[in-house]
Amino acid sequence: MTAPSQIEFVLNGERRVAPAGATLAQLITELGLRSELVAVECNGAVVRRAEHAQRRLAAGDVLELVTLVGGG
């Protein structure tokens, strides 16, 4: 159960809760990530970095947060 002040969402395949009204930028900061190294997809569509500060999480959002790693 989530309190009324919280919303539940999915982050990289895991269920998570956040305070209602939290933004993507706040989530990225909270996770200790460097924003310039993270790209965000919400419900299948990329959310541009410039929109992170305004974009509020909604209940049921499915987020993918990705970065670059070694690969061939």
């Binding site: 990289n12 996770l31 200790g32 790209a39 965000v40 990329v46 947060l65 990705v66 670059l68 061939g72």
Partner: protein, 277 residues
């Protein structure tokens, strides 16, 4: 001037892929190195100016150094891949995320068939390539070595057709050089052999076919001495390219002496070496 003195070094045109120009014809992956420092040093020794990276979910544990901290972006063009994607839709989403991460429309498209062979799925590859080209990406397209598929990819406007020499990470070299040769005759886009390189001679042999470049990763990262292998790949790429441009001699069944046949001592004037009366 001393007639024994010469200092002419052959020149080569740069490799142009889409809207990007590369000095080196070797493209090198950043995966599987024991440490980021080793990767950084191997990249430098390889002489490459284009390195591939993968897009993956962030590690939600904190404080991890980023791969990008070890890659000088003023020196290297970063080519993100869609490795690990088994359908066109996931590959397209991954490419869109890569564009957001790097602010660049370069992408190495991979749509794979299954995890055991990692062979490219030609139908999914064509489908994803078409969509990404329409979105304005410069698509460097990993694909099988079927020349007709290469033609279809070139027709839809990929920046480079990149046939696998052999399966990814297998180290078998270029298994079907004739398919690569036919592809080179059929399309005008740069052809880059991507995957399967095991050692330096594989790179040289591929370049001697006339391909525009070679992309490799495991052969350097997993060599006993990655730094020395990186240097070997650099030299092999240049050697193979120069050999291609120089034009090899024809193969013959019998010998063709390099030294004059006339004037060998001991015989009659005008005698020919080995000739019996």
């Amino acid at each position: 001037m001393n007639p024994a003195t010469s200092s002419t070094e052959p020149v080569d045109a740069p490799l142009v892929v889409g809207r990007t120009t590369l000095r080196s014809r070797l493209l090198v992956g950043t995966g599987k190195y024991a440490t980021n420092e080793l990767m950084r040093d191997a990249l430098a020794l390889s002489g490459t100016d284009c390195v591939t990276v993968a897009v993956r979910r962030v590690n939600l544990g904190r404080g991890e150094p980023s791969l990008l901290d070890y890659i000088d972006r003023s020196r290297y063009q970063i080519l993100p891949n869609t490795a690990g994607c088994y359908d066109a839709k996931t590959a397209i989403r991954t490419a869109e995320l890569a564009r957001e991460l790097l602010g660049s429309t370069w992408v190495k498209l991979e749509v794979l068939g299954d995890p055991r062979t990692l062979l490219p799925d030609p139908i999914g590859t064509l489908e994803a390539a078409r969509e990404l080209v329409a979105q304005g990406f410069d698509v460097l397209c990993y694909c099988s070595d079927d020349p007709r598929l290469g033609v279809r990819l070139a027709e839809i406007g990929v920046a480079s057709v990149m046939p696998a020499g052999s399966p990814i990470g297998s180290g078998q070299g270029v298994l079907n050089p004739n398919a690569i040769r036919i592809l080179l005759e059929l399309i005008d886009k740069p052809v880059i052999v991507d995957a399967g390189v095991g050692t330096a001679s594989d790179v040289a042999a591929a370049m001697e076919l006339g391909v525009a470049g070679v992309l490799l990763n495991s052969a350097v990262a997993l060599a006993r001495d990655p730094l020395r292998m990186a240097a070997a790949m650099r030299d092999a790429c240049r050697a193979g390219r120069n050999a291609f441009l120089a034009g090899r001699i024809e193969r013959r069944l019998y010998a063709n002496a390099s030294s004059p046949l006339e004037g060998v001592i001991g015989g009659a004037a005008g005698g020919v070496l080995g000739a019996k009366a």
